[in-house]
Amino acid sequence: MSREDITLLKESLGKEELLRTLDDGEYAKTGFNYRSQATHDAIPAIAQIYLDRGYFLEMLTCLDRLADDEIFRLVYAFNRFDRCERHALDIDLKPTQAVATISQIHRSANWFEREVCEMFGVHFDGHQNLKRLLLPEDTDFHPLLKDFGRIEDAP
């Protein structure tokens, strides 16, 4: 893990308006070299910086924390090809909030965002084709929500 790159990232990302926090990710334990948190409107700018610096979007997923904190947490993982440098970026959303799409910046986000929208009902503003990805198009539920499809609710 190169120090210079982190300094660079800190300079561009660590600005108050983009990131709320920027911590060491404890790689040995979590697999992330860096972990940061941002507000929901900062993500396009951050994604652009990552793209310019040679990162790719490895994963985007969502955690349903409605029961505990009444939030959805979007987890973006950026990584690069020339060395292992995995950065996690958390974005906390209130259930009613939408987040800006980065599908025009990292094109892999296109399907990731569709999947998150399908599974959790999180809306991505500006996404061109936010229809169902894995489930039939007439599906009316979001299966990965914690209160959906619990075994104990089964008839």
């Binding site: 894995l134 489930l135 039939p136 539920f141 299966p143 959906f148 499809g149 619990r150 075994i151 609710d153 089964a154």
Partner: protein
């Protein structure tokens, strides 16, 4: 035969079933007097020995289906190795893998496209009852191929070995030779 029997039949409420039922009864009643036994026998034997499966894999089992068609197991020995990509030319549909709810209508359409007489083999746990993906309140899969179409032979396993598939096909051959189809 008269309608009297049918009047008592609760199935009268389902007209389609009644029609099929009355046809079947007609066949059964006529059977002792009218018989193309020799021809039936010959055709059944031909059908049994020429089961062309539809090239249609759903998931893991499809790989074992391919393996069964490959050199080591060689389904072609039994005349069942001619995998036809077009449903119009296939005789047997091997369900090889999990049936998701999204694919279910497609399967139904494919089955309807196949010309009679046709047969279905449910290969693997998923197509028998949902297999490992079945749990209370699941949302993704259809629990068993027989929810969609009538299945003739069930082959358990996850996935079944190619030997098991061959055995299933031999069982289907026996069934066809005996002239039995779509038992309830």
């Amino acid at each position: 035969m008269g309608l009297k029997d049918h009047d008592k039949d609760p199935q009268i409420l389902q007209p389609n079933l009644v029609k099929a039922d009355s046809e079947q009864r007609l066949m059964e009643e006529a059977a002792p007097y009218v018989s193309f036994h020799l021809l039936d026998d010959l055709l059944n034997r031909a059908r049994a020995n020429s089961l062309w499966p539809l090239t249609f894999g759903l998931a893991c089992c499809a790989i074992e289906m391919m393996a069964a068609g490959a050199s080591k197991y060689d389904l072609d020995r039994f005349g069942a190795g001619v995998f036809r990509p077009s449903a119009r030319q296939a005789d047997v549909m091997i369900f090889a893998g999990t049936i998701s709810r999204k694919i279910a209508p497609v399967i139904r359409a494919l089955w309807d496209q196949m010309p009679s007489p046709k047969w279905a083999i449910a290969m693997g746990g998923c197509t028998i009852d949902g297999g490992p993906f079945k749990y209370p309140n699941q949302y993704a899969i259809v629990e068993g191929a027989d929810k969609l179409i009538p299945v003739d032979v069930y082959i358990p396993g996850c996935p079944p070995r190619p030997e098991a598939l061959i055995n299933g096909i031999l069982k289907l051959q026996e069934k066809i030779k005996a002239g039995r189809r779509f038992e309830a």
